[in-house]
């Protein structure tokens, strides 16, 4: 066969798959979409950058290259959706469907040519914008401080721009492929556009709705990092909201593969598409049910959750479901005449599915709440709770017995869930996190009444085990010159904190070393009762420790201490720890005393008087003149007198003694509310135009503990 004939045959064969004229015609017809997209890119990035070219702000470049620029995000969405809607619009009209399919194209050729030209149309503006960013590239330095010295990093690099272009390519390809799929299953332009947006966020919306159900109904449900990560990773469009906005190569390949799979799947759907359905809302019967059910699901869930907030039970789900069904049916059937027997049957089926979902969540059909892992499947168990973790250092347990104690405690909480589920008072906020041997993580978060913690033998044994001391032992590993310690009173005080800065001075570091050793001794010797006593702190101790990023000698695994870490800054990673020092911290207080820093402890300094009264349980009014409310700053105009249910103290030594040795910050250690008295401290108001005195601190006193002199006076005045 002659080459010429071969070439013609080959060309004819290729035209079965792809029509160059059609692809070019699409570009010619829909160029305006690309121009609008490019303008949005330019107006959001390049133009403002040119206007401030002599002094480009680093955040401007960072927000562009990380796709956190709202204009860029809007442009990605607009381009992907509008390109897909435009190039496949011929499928949504009877005339165009007939003419295009009667022309010398195969469906394969029509699909591939349209798909490719639409993708090119959507991506070209980003490509042009990227090339402009490369052309305009100039060093833009961001200043970071390392050892108090400014270090400058260039944030506007070729690699950064190339990374942005690659990121946008995957975002647009992914969203465009879903938008094309939407066009293939719908029969009208309006529904194509709506579903193109909807399907792109469908998984995220479904995931979010199920999380909403979990939050409402599951006792112990908590959002952990994994949940947020999954939510963001469902689409490359949301992926960029993570950290630096960069899509790593592996994820990039993953999204591209999914986009390719969707595109291939869509081609097979096109092959089966009944063209006579053009102008109908949907072209496949199953899509009619699917879209209709989605409207029911989201309508019912949204209104149901709102009604649930206002204690209307299931009424919102029913109302939302009916409303969603009517709207959904009108959309898919393109008529208001939807009241017939067939639709009634569909409604019954949808109502059944919604009932299964809602009741399934509310009755915990899958056993989420009851799930306590088996000891053999747990590698480590971590308890994070403000009251149980001095220094905000969560306790991680890996010893078999200790893991079992955590599981026993967890089981006790699960068994008592009927009692604890609706608990809303003050109590322990606690997160249990299990690292499973499978590599997965399981987390539960509870708000528990104090007695659930105080009376737990499992927790007592756990926190008095040697493993519980481990977080504190980290203090011994701190590199003292890189450690900064600040001390200040725990209650109201206008005194400046006493700070021991980062230093290479041996004497200064010796003091810090001694303080940390004393603190470590206290933490290791602390009993469970002391740990959870609720005793009011007399001093706050803050530690800021910095670690060089490349320092491998600092061997505390980062994941063990997720909370204290701060965002990277320069060459250091900073960790902060906060300790509320009570009178149980005897060694620490001795160091305070030896270093003549006792003036930093809570005292009657700057206070005028104190008032002891009854009725200080949360929500009750502590006295007749003042309406104490948590969180409110209360003032009075006249200093009260002892009597009528209150005892007024003015002796500074007496007040100092009470707040240092007898004060509690809550009612956890009290056998009953009746034993509790309120202690409120007052100072002269800064501005006395309105009232003379204002409260500074609020504590509880245990009547049974009080020294005899004060107890006698309290009995005398408070019984009146």
């Amino acid at each position: 066969m002659k080459w010429g004939v071969k070439a013609v045959k080959f060309k004819a064969y290729c035209s079965n798959f792809f029509s160059v004229p059609l692809a070019m015609e699409n570009m010619k017809r829909f160029w305006a979409i690309g121009v609008v997209g490019l303008l949005v890119y330019l107006l959001s990035g390049v133009f403002p950058m040119i206007l401030s070219y002599d002094d480009i702000r680093p955040y401007m470049i960072e927000s562009m290259l990380s796709n956190h620029n709202p204009g860029y995000m809007a442009a990605h969405l607009f381009l992907a959706i509008s390109a897909a809607v435009a190039v496949f619009r011929y499928l949504q009209n009877t005339g165009s469907t007939s003419v295009m399919h009667a022309m010398p194209f195969t469906r394969k050729g029509l699909y591939l040519s349209s798909y490719w030209s639409g993708l090119k149309l959507a991506y070209l503006p980003a490509l042009v914008n990227g090339l402009l960013l490369l052309l305009l590239k100039t060093p833009v330095y961001q200043t970071v401080y390392v050892d108090n010295l400014p270090i400058q990093t260039n944030v506007y690099t070729t690699a950064g721009v190339m990374g942005w272009m690659a990121g946008v390519l995957v975002i647009i390809t992914f969203m465009y492929s879903i938008a094309v799929f939407a066009g293939m299953v719908t029969g009208s332009v309006v529904l194509h556009a709506l579903t193109a947006v909807g399907f792109n966020f469908l998984l995220t919306a479904l995931y979010g709705t199920f999380l909403g159900y979990s939050e409402i109904y599951f006792f112990g449900f908590t959002y952990n990092e994994l949940i947020s990560e999954i939510a963001l990773k469902l689409s490359p469009y949301t992926y960029v909201f993570q950290q630096e906005g960069v899509i790593p190569a592996k994820a990039w390949m993953g999204y591209m593969s999914v986009a390719a799979l969707i595109a291939v799947g869509t081609y097979f759907i096109y092959k089966k598409r009944p063209l006579e359905k053009a102008t109908d809302s949907t072209v496949f019967r199953f899509m009619e049910y699917f879209i209709s059910f989605l409207v029911v699901f989201f309508g019912s869930s949204l209104i149901g959750m709102i009604f649930h907030e206002y204690d209307y039970g299931y009424a919102g789900y029913v109302f939302g479901g009916i409303l969603g069904f009517l709207i959904g049916q009108m959309i898919v059937k393109k008529t208001m005449k939807i009241f017939d027997l067939e639709n009634l049957k569909v409604f019954v089926v949808f109502a059944g599915i919604m009932a299964i979902i809602v009741v399934g969540f509310s009755k915990d059909a899958l056993g989420y709440e009851r799930r306590v892992p088996d000891q053999n499947s747990v590698n480590t168990a971590t308890i994070s709770s403000y009251d149980l973790t001095p220094g905000n250092m969560p306790s991680t347990f890996s010893e078999k017995d200790n893991v079992q104690q955590v599981l026993d405690f967890h089981k006790a909480v699960v068994d008592g869930r009927k009692e604890y589920r609706d608990f809303q008072g003050s109590g322990f906020n606690m997160t249990l996190t299990y690292e499973m041997s499978s590599g997965r993580q399981m987390s539960r978060r509870y708000l528990l009444p104090y007695e659930a913690i105080m009376r737990s033998d499992a927790l007592r044994q756990l926190y008095e085990s040697t493993e519980a001391e481990k977080p504190a032992e980290m203090l011994a590993q701190f590199h003292i010159p890189d450690t900064q310690i600040a001390l200040y009173p725990a209650g109201y005080s206008s005194k400046q904190p006493m700070t021991m800065h980062y230093s290479d001075d041996d004497a200064a570091n010796g003091r810090k070393q001694a303080l940390l050793e004393a603190l470590l001794l206290d933490l290791k010797g602390m009993t469970f009762t002391e740990l959870v006593s609720g005793r009011a702190p007399v001093l706050q101790l803050e530690i800021l420790h910095r670690v060089k990023k490349d320092d491998t000698s600092y061997n505390i695994p980062e994941e063990t201490y997720p909370y204290p870490q701060e965002k990277d800054s320069g060459n250091y990673r900073y960790e902060s720890y906060s300790y509320s020092i009570t009178t149980d911290y005897t060694n620490t207080l001795r160091w305070i005393d030896e270093n003549q820093l006792s003036q930093l402890l809570n005292s009657a300094d700057e206070k005028e008087f104190a008032v002891i009264s009854r009725n200080c349980a949360p929500g009750k009014e502590p006295g007749p003149e003042e309406t104490y409310d948590y969180g409110k700053f209360v003032s009075i105009d006249v200093k009260p007198q002892s009597g009528s249910g209150k005892l007024v103290l003015e002796d500074p030594q007496e007040i100092t003694m009470l707040i240092r040795s007898y004060a509690y910050r809550d009612l956890r250690s009290f056998d009953s509310e009746e034993e509790a008295l309120c202690l409120m401290l007052y100072r002269l108001a800064d501005y006395q135009d309105y009232d003379m005195y204002e409260t500074t601190d609020f504590y509880y006193l245990n009547k049974a503990d009080l020294p005899e002199g004060i107890l006698a006076e309290a009995d005398r005045y408070l019984s009146e």
Binding site: A12, S98, A102, M103, P104, L275, E276
Partner: protein
């Protein structure tokens, strides 16, 4: 030759075409007629490879049309519901057609443009319906199709333009053996142009005949006798019979000679055998003068 064999198509619960067979001879003009909803447009969308048949085949000179670019390159189609790219003018459309139809005939395009007097630069969407029809006709005929499928082609065209359109069609049939299938409700126009007629009803082909043969076989007879005696004419296939005073009107399907000989035996006072128009044939073949049938006639 275009052959449709055993074509079936249903839309949900509605059967649009049922075991349909059509034969269009090469170099002929085939008129497809039928009442509204009889399946004409559905058949045409199968003939143009738009719809996928549920069963059956559509064969163009031995090749299936569905997903066949080779056949489609030689197929011209003017739908009733016209479509041009948005904001395109005739020049843009011609440029596109030129790239996708390998047998595009530029001189013919230019000649037709002149003859029909359409502006090449004006947006097609600004044309009147009749002008859009002309534009579609110019574009389609410039692709030099071997097969031409026309759905209501003269709807909206004035008599002069109609004449030009048919002239082009007839000339291509005569000169290039182009095969034409045309669907129209204008039976008078069809009568003057078609070689064959297919009558569709309820998704089935009722009659498919050479138009001349069809007309030779059906006769309108006006007959009167001196007496008032009732006669049955049992030897004749009478489709319709009515009495108007002393004159009786018969629609008879039989050969002319046979009809004449049978009637002359009765020695009528008056005997007139008149030719039937396509409209009349259609009415009587479809079973009378029901309003449904009348509705398709002008």
């Amino acid at each position: 030759m275009i052959q449709v064999k055993g074509l079936c198509k249903s839309f949900d619960d509605f059967t649009a075409l049922s075991d349909l067979n059509v034969h269009v001879e090469t170099g002929s003009i085939y008129g497809l007629i039928g009442v509204n909803g009889s399946g004409k447009t559905t058949l045409i969308k199968h003939l143009t490879g738009v719809y996928m048949p549920d069963a059956g085949q559509i064969i163009y000179d031995g090749e299936d049309i569905y997903e066949n670019m080779g056949v489609k390159e030689r197929l011209g189609y003017i739908p009733d519901d016209l479509y041009f790219f948005n904001s395109y003018n005739l020049r843009d459309m011609a440029s596109f057609y030129r790239k996708i139809y390998p047998r595009w005939n530029e001189p013919r395009y230019q000649a037709m443009l002149q003859e029909f007097g359409l502006s090449e630069r004006r947006k097609i969407s600004k044309f009147s319906k009749g002008m859009q029809k002309q534009a579609a006709f110019i574009l389609t005929m410039s692709t030099m199709p071997d097969y031409l499928i026309l759905d209501e082609p003269i709807d909206g065209l004035d008599p002069l333009i109609r004449k030009k359109v048919w002239r082009y069609v007839v000339s291509d049939v005569a000169e290039r053996q182009m095969t034409v299938l045309v669907s129209s409700h204008n039976l008078r126009e069809m009568e003057g142009i078609c070689d064959y007629i297919g009558i569709l009803s309820g998704g089935r082909m009722m009659i498919e005949r050479d138009l001349e043969e069809l007309k030779t076989d059906i006769h309108k007879v006006q007959i009167a006798f001196k007496d008032q005696q009732d006669r049955t004419f049992a030897e004749l296939n009478i489709l319709h019979r009515e009495k108007r005073g002393s004159v009786e009107l018969l629609i008879v399907r039989d050969s002319g000679d046979h009809v004449k000989s049978v009637l002359e035996k009765e020695e009528p006072a008056v005997l007139d055998m008149l030719p039937l128009s396509l409209e009349e044939i259609f009415i009587y073949e479809m079973g009378g003068e029901s309003s449904e049938i009348q509705s398709i006639l002008f």
